[in-house]
């Protein structure tokens, strides 16, 4: 019988899929929030977002190979990615800030290809996994099984997210970032050094992606081409939730995670990503149609 029928006949499977979806959704939400930060503060859509996640994943993978446990590796990777982000900002991103969005999309697309191919050349195209021998937790008489590593991943993502929110709301730089996001010119007039705000924001985003990538590598796997999917997922979540809407990002992230789990189960893994992208297109078209009744459009 088809997978859909399996689902209908064994509702407990729904619980499994939903739980898995929410667990992975936290990571999607984290990466999406990073993208939303860069977008909201600097008006740049970072098409290389997923590749930054991938790089973070490889960093943690090779640290693990070198004997550094992921729980230490992830913070190290995050810091390394922060520095990388600063360099990338000084080198390229800084020149994209006041330009057409098309330019930033194309440029970051170039960066994504660069990182992707670099990874392919340096690390090979094979899928890499970290072996963490954590047990699987079992519920509902064995019908629902959750790998505890996924719960760890979820907790880690939440931790990073909370740290981020605290930083943005309590620290001086965090407030400067939020001010610049609202009105860059006003922020400048008030004496905020927008250039360093931009640098910090971008570097922060890279650190977020690095941490997320490490979590992904630890929990699932890493390969050079996992980037674009993450980028488009982030984009979808940001579109659905809107910039500056953290609860929305969390909900959308979870929703997307759950949707993917169902799609993967019902349609099969090969069609899973195609399904997501079609949902993205449908989301954009739908949003636009709704706005069109108000005679507006997505801008």
């Amino acid at each position: 019988m088809s997978n859909l029928e399996v689902l209908a006949s064994a509702p407990i499977l729904v619980v499994q899929l939903v739980v898995n979806g929410i667990l992975v959704g936290a990571i999607f939400a984290l990466v999406a929030y990073g993208m939303a930060l860069v977008w909201g503060v600097m008006n740049i859509i970072n098409v290389a977002q997923g590749e930054l996640v991938m790089v973070g994943g490889y960093a943690v993978f090779y640290l693990d190979r070198a004997g550094v446990h992921p729980w230490l590796g992830i913070p190290i990777a995050a810091v390394a990615m922060y520095v990388f982000g600063l360099l990338l900002y000084r080198g390229v991103i800084r020149r994209l800030v006041d330009r057409d969005m098309f330019v930033s999309i194309l440029a970051t697309f170039g960066i994504s290809i660069l990182l992707q191919q670099l990874a392919n050349q340096l690390f090979g195209a094979d899928i890499r996994t970290l072996s963490t021998n954590l047990p699987s937790l079992s519920f509902a008489e064995g019908h629902v099984s959750i790998a505890s590593i996924r719960i760890v991943a979820f907790a880690a993502a939440v931790l990073v997210g909370v740290a981020l929110v605290v930083f943005l709301h309590r620290s001086r730089m965090g407030r400067a970032i939020r001010a610049t996001a609202q009105n860059a010119r006003a922020a400048r007039v008030l004496g905020i050094d927008t250039d360093s705000v931009y640098a910090t924001t971008f570097a922060l985003n890279c650190a977020i992606c690095g941490a997320a990538g490490g979590i992904v590598a630890m929990t699932w796997f890493v390969q050079p081409y996992l980037g674009l999917t993450y980028t488009l997922r982030s984009f979808m979540i940001v579109i659905a939730a809107g910039l500056g809407n953290l609860p929305g990002v969390i909900v959308a992230g979870s929703g997307l995670g759950v949707l993917e789990e169902f799609a993967g189960f019902v349609l099969g893994a090969e069609y899973q990503t195609a399904f997501i992208f079609i949902v993205l297109v449908a989301l954009l078209v739908g949003r636009n149609l709704v706005l069109a009744r108000q005679r507006k459009y997505l801008a």
Partner: protein, 314 residues
Amino acid sequence: MLLIAIALLGIAAPFVLPTVVTQLAFLWLMILFAVTWDVNGGQMGYNSFGNVLFFGIGVYACALVQRDSGLGYYAALFVGTGAGALCAAIAALVLGPPLLGIRGHYFAIATLGLSIAAADIASAWEYIGAASGIAMPVYPGAIGGRARFFYFLLFALAAVTWLAARALYRTRLGLAMNAIRDNEDKAEAMGVHTTRSKVFAWTVAAFFLGAAGGPVGNLVGFVDPRDLAFAGATFGVWMVLMAVLGGRGTLWGPVIGAVIFHVTQELFWTYLLGWQRVAMGLLIVVIVVFFPSGILGWASRLRRHGDAASATSA
């Protein structure tokens, strides 16, 4: 005149440089890619990152005709090329109204998503070969003749595409496209039929992209969903880049951009094998960051500085 010179060069090239006929054939493909992208991109302001969707549709349509129709080689190729163009055009007519209602970067990302979805679906769909793709029938002519045959086919297609674009830009529709690019709200406020114009322009681009699919599939000999037909990270983004490199919104910009890009790419392949994609990524960033208005834009700015300088010194 310039066009005649190019035509003669194009006809003579495979005989003068017989070892690189395939690469030259791809040069004409790149020119077609850049020109068709510029129709909806540089001329109309709808920067699609998914035009490769139409190319891929053309590739598969032709491959299926050649595989399943039972026609002889040349007949199947002819019908297949036409089918490719037609199917791609229909796709544009169907997808156009919903997608072209989306503006700016949302349109860019939506089209990107669409082309990647197509790659994934094609990789999983058994009927069209899934990830293994489709092997094309063997060329019936002389051994060396295949590359040359498809060279001329692609040359002809690229030429027709460019001429069609040139004709289009001189019409009222060409003006409407530019107006939509410069200020779509103003165009609507002046009563221009924007949806009609946008869909038509995209359909024209799709038509030629679809037509090119069959010949390329045959030239390569093998249809692969991710690396040939719906190659979003290569062909898909190169289309955009070549037009940007040469100068968007101009007649010759995309052509110049395609030539420079393709030659550079071949050089990268020859000298940096393995790392050529990395170099390509780097090149994209350099071009976009430092030459956003392309070579023609940079040249015209130089000329204007020159005029101003000589005017002040005169």
